[in-house]
Structure formats: structure tokens, C-alpha cells
Assembly symmetry: C2
Homo-oligomer: 340 residues x 2
């Protein structure tokens, strides 16, 4: 393969070249040295795509739902980028990879680009790498970016939380309980989907979800929108109307309910835009990213000045209880002062 300069790759990507897109994503996913420059160059072209996170337990039909949703969006002439994150757990790997297979219905459509990402082995963390891949797709001009993850593990929850609209998928007949509650992901949902709604058990699942939403409603508002609430506390009057989380029934395999789901997504999108919430969230996310990058850079700059031997000795002193962690930090920051 010919070596391509980052700037060439970027200009090809911006011109709509799919091969350049694939190669750029690979560079970013592998955290290749050139990815820093690539992401810097692409950054001005980002911030335009609308992002949808889809999560739920294995067996809820997430991939099938992503496929049906994408087909619907394509009929509206929207281009769609899909990032499918494979699970971390070695115990659930097989089933989910099987699901991915269903997305083959989307192949051959130049308005769709699908990328699978393994959830292990990302130096800067899975959430950041996924976010960087999202940026690449965003710069490449996709109207909608869908991120699909199995809702297990905080790492994966962080990913979908970065989306503008988060959809949690549930299905009847996976046991007596609501899977999303067990996984601790019910509270991140902007929209709840009960897929496989042709099951005779669907009303039980809908009823259980409604009960849970009622129970959690007050706490959820406080917890989820804590930041926004804090802004309004001073005036006493809430600045936003908090919507109820809609519960949409779908049968993804035959497309039933998908248009209702798209309407719910559009309504949520309008809600975020009208109330300035989308901008607030983006601001908070960028601030979090800046802080995280600052920490990494500051640490790297400091450790570059500390001999490995000094650092290792300090760890041994900590282990032997000869120095405490707070003093250890001070000794690294003020190396001229002798250790007590």
C-alpha cells in the first residue's frame, strides 16, 4: 500500500472518498501517530452530524433496529454512518457478532458507512477513540451517525451518553425483569424502544417500564439534568420543560413502528435545539475533553523529566509505607526538596 500523507488523506475524505474514510478511521482507531494531525485538520468540519446512541441487552434486536432505522433515514435522503462497538466481555462476544451479520442488508448503499470497533485495546480509552471516529464520520459529511453498543459496562454507557439522542432498547420475554434496569442504563434513555413488540408479552414489558419511569422520574430529573437544574435554581423557575421519556413499540424485522421512532427522534432533536440543550451538552463535552487532554499532556510532560528509576523507587517507598501518596506527589512536583 502506498504511503499517503495525512493532508492527502484528509482532502480525499472531505471529497467523499470512502477508501480514504476507511483508512482515516483505521488510523484514528489504532491511535497511529498521524491521527493527531488528522483530527486537528478535520476538527473545523465537525459538529454538523446528528448522533444517535442505541444500547440495550443482548437479544433485544439492536442491530436489526439499527438496520431498519437506517433504511428509513435513507428514504428521507439522509446519509448514515454507523459505529458498532463490540462488547468487552469475553462471555458475550459470539451472540453480538452474530447480530452484526444482519446489517448486511445495508451493504452496497453508498449513503451508508458501517464500521465495527473492538472495545478492547484503546490506549486513550474506548470512549475517546469512539468519539474520535465519530468526528471523522462527522467531517466526512454524514447527516446522521448511529453508535450501537451492548449496554454492559460503564465504558459503553459513556459512549452512548455522548450521543445527542440516546435510545435504550428492551424486548419482551428475556426474563421477568427489565434488562435495562439490571444493566443500570434505564436512566440514560431519551427514548425507550420495546422491540419484538409482536410478542404476546409486550404489554407486560411496557407496563413494567412505565412503572419504573414513574418511580425514577423525580430522581432522574435531578440526576440527569443536575447541571441544567443548577442553572435555574437561582431564579426559582425551571428554564426547560422536561419531557416524559416516550416508549415506542417496534418490530424491527418488518419495519413496524420505525416511522414512529423516527418521529420521536425528530421531536427530541427539536426539543434539544429549541431549549439550547444540545449546545449546552456539546459545551460540557468539549470542556470534559479539554480537561482530560490537559491532564494527559501535563502528566506526560512531568514524567518525561522524571527518571524511571526515581518513579519506581517512589512506588516501592509507597508500598513500604515510607511515604504517603500526597507527599509522593509533592516530591515529584518539587524534586529539589529532599524527601523527609
Amino acid at each position: 500500500m502506498l504511503k499517503t500523507f495525512p493532508e492527502t488523506l484528509v482532502s480525499q475524505l472531505l471529497a467523499g472518498n470512502r477508501r480514504a474514510l476507511a483508512r482515516t478511521i483505521t488510523a484514528v482507531e489504532n491511535e497511529a501517530p498521524e491521527s493527531v494531525e488528522i483530527l486537528k485538520t478535520l476538527y473545523p468540519y465537525t459538529g454538523r452530524a446528528y448522533t444517535i446512541g442505541i444500547t440495550g441487552a443482548p437479544g433485544t434486536g439492536k442491530s436489526c433496529l439499527v438496520t431498519a432505522l437506517t433504511q428509513h433515514l435513507r428514504k428521507q435522503n439522509k446519509t448514515v454512518g454507523i459505529i458498532a462497538v463490540d462488547p468487552t466481555s469475553p462471555f458475550t462476544g459470539g451472540a453480538v457478532l452474530g447480530d452484526r451479520f444482519r446489517m448486511r442488508d445495508l451493504s452496497g448503499d453508498s449513503g451508508v458507512f458501517i464500521r465495527s470497533m473492538a472495545s478492547r485495546g484503546h490506549l486513550g480509552g474506548l470512549a475517546r477513540t469512539t468519539y474520535d471516529v465519530m468526528r471523522v464520520m462527522d467531517a466526512a459529511g454524514f447527516d446522521i451517525i448511529i453508535i450501537e453498543t451492548v449496554g454492559a459496562g460503564q465504558n459503553e454507557v459513556e459512549i452512548v451518553k455522548a450521543a445527542d439522542t440516546t435510545i435504550v432498547v428492551e424486548a419482551p420475554g428475556l426474563g421477568d425483569d427489565i434488562q435495562a434496569i439490571k444493566a443500570g442504563i434505564l436512566e440514560i434513555a431519551d427514548i425507550l424502544v420495546v422491540n419484538k413488540a409482536d410478542s404476546p408479552l409486550v404489554q407486560n414489558t411496557v407496563r413494567a417500564l412505565k412503572a419504573m419511569l414513574d418511580l425514577g422520574h423525580r430522581q432522574r430529573l435531578v440526576a440527569h439534568h443536575g447541571q441544567l437544574m443548577a442553572q435555574t435554581d437561582s431564579t426559582g423557575a425551571p428554564e426547560y420543560d422536561f419531557r416524559e421519556v416516550p416508549i415506542i413499540q417496534t418490530v424491527a424485522i418488518n419495519g413496524q413502528g420505525i416511522s414512529t421512532l423516527v418521529e420521536a427522534i425528530d421531536a427530541h432533536r427539536s426539543y434539544l435545539a429549541e431549549n439550547g440543550i444540545r449546545q449546552d451538552r456539546q459545551r460540557a463535552r468539549l470542556q470534559g475533553e479539554l480537561i482530560a487532554r490537559l491532564k494527559e499532556t501535563l502528566l506526560k510532560n512531568l514524567l518525561d523529566t522524571v527518571p524511571d528509576e526515581t518513579f519506581d523507587q517512589l512506588i516501592e517507598s509507597l508500598l513500604a509505607r515510607q511515604i504517603d501518596p500526597v507527599s509522593a506527589v509533592q516530591s515529584l512536583l518539587n524534586p529539589q526538596r529532599p524527601l523527609s
Copy 2:
């Protein structure tokens, strides 16, 4: 309440004063200003307690198991500190708080100290605060410290992973599936307990767990002990024998199987000690803590020099795509250079 100086509090705590212990834990849990000095002073007295993490889905009888385990350890004349972390999710709060009630059987025993911790509202993160509370109990001289959490959410998983021995509790009859797999916590178990083993369904659960362990065994070794494996890769010969994860059946409510569980914990403890793994883990944990503290301190020192206005303007520039995140970091680190 009279104001007590940190050094007085610490010397009372080291002398075995329970009231001083309770007040110290409160200061540490609330991240009170004096807690930095307190933890510094206590640090040399830490590192002696053996820590056991117990986690599992709601309904598996964790609190009952903790109670039975503690009663057994007390008969061996071991003192026990218990940290019970209440769940983050507003959807599961009630049930778990009910469980805690069962620990009342332990009240009145001066060799036992129980502390509940809420999982919300810890500035430095729940895992760090819990770890600090663990250190306080450790310095106070407890032989064993048990940390109990609901196995939902990465935060809580991080906590039990900090324990020397991690026990994942499962129970029959909670649905067709293994709860621990859904919660993504099966792979952190050093010991698996199937509680409520007087259920007629117990053999199904044990069989399912065994199948899962076999399936995950290879990946688990690589993933969980990746660091240790890496150390041995150079010689080609593994330095440690990896034990099979034992599956212990208990009926916590009547004490059945608890002595077998204690034997399994002792065997794991010996295994960790004989192979130097406990020390390796402590070293890795202290290194992680030092790095995290360094980052926080470096960030704080830097941000103290940056006017809030400058920082806020930078975020707005990021939001407007006038500057990219990497350049934004550079502009904060080199403020003399004008922004492009």
C-alpha cells in the same frame, strides 16, 4: 460537638476509639479539608488488613452472606470492618436498603464495624473515597475489611476489584440467565458463590456458571492477568499457576456452606501471598493512585494560573470550531504564544 484536631482524632482512632473511627470516616467520606492530613497521618498504619469484595445482582442475598461470613470470621477471633456501598441507580434503591437491615444481627459486637456509603456525590470519585475509607478501617486495625456493592455500574466494579479477594454472588431462580454475566462482572470473580443453594434450581445455575467459566477461561486469564502474563512472556514460561475459579454453594440464612467459603478465601489468600500476586496488585494500585493524584494536582496548579474568562473563551472557541482541542491544550500550556 467540640472541634477535635485531626491529630487527636487520629491518635484516638489508633487507640481503638469507635467514635473517633466513625468521625474520621465521616470526614474522609465528605472529603472534608482535614481529611488530607488525616489520611497522610494514617498511611503508615495501613496495608495490614485483608480485603474481601462481595458483589452480585439485587436478590442474590449479598448482605445476608456478608452477615454470615462476618459471624464465622468472628468465631475465628478476627475483627471485621464492613463497607456497604448503596447503589447509584434511583431505580434499585429501595430493595438494597432493605437488605442492609439484615446486618442488624451484627450490632453490639465491638469486633465489627459497619459503615454504609452512598454512591453519589463524591468529588474525587466513589472508588477513591471508598478506598480512603478502607484505609481508615485498615489503620484502625481491623483484620478483615469486607466491601459490599451491587454489581451494577463500572464505578462499583472498580471498588470490588480493589479487594484482595473478589466474590461474585449468584442465586438460582432470578431468571433463565446468569445475572453476573448480564452485569459484566463474572470475569472479576476470584470465587463464585451460588447462594440460596437450597433452591431446587441450584444445579442449573451451577451448570450454567461452569459452562461460562470454561468458555471464558482462556480470555479471562489473558484479560484479567494481562499484566502478569506480560511479565512472563519474555521467558515463555508462566510464573504463576492460574487457579480455577471455585464455585461454592451457600445458604447464608442458615450458615450452610460458609465454612467452605472461608476455606476458599483462605486458599485464595495463600495463593496470592505465595506467588507475590498480592504485592504486585498493591504496587499496580499505588501506581494508579499516584498517577491519578499527579494529574489532579498538575491540573489544579495549571488552572490556578488561568483566568476563568480565558478558559471559558477557549471553550467557546472550541464550540465554534475556531480552535481544535490539541491546539487548545497547547495554548493553555504556552500562554505567551498568541492563539493563531
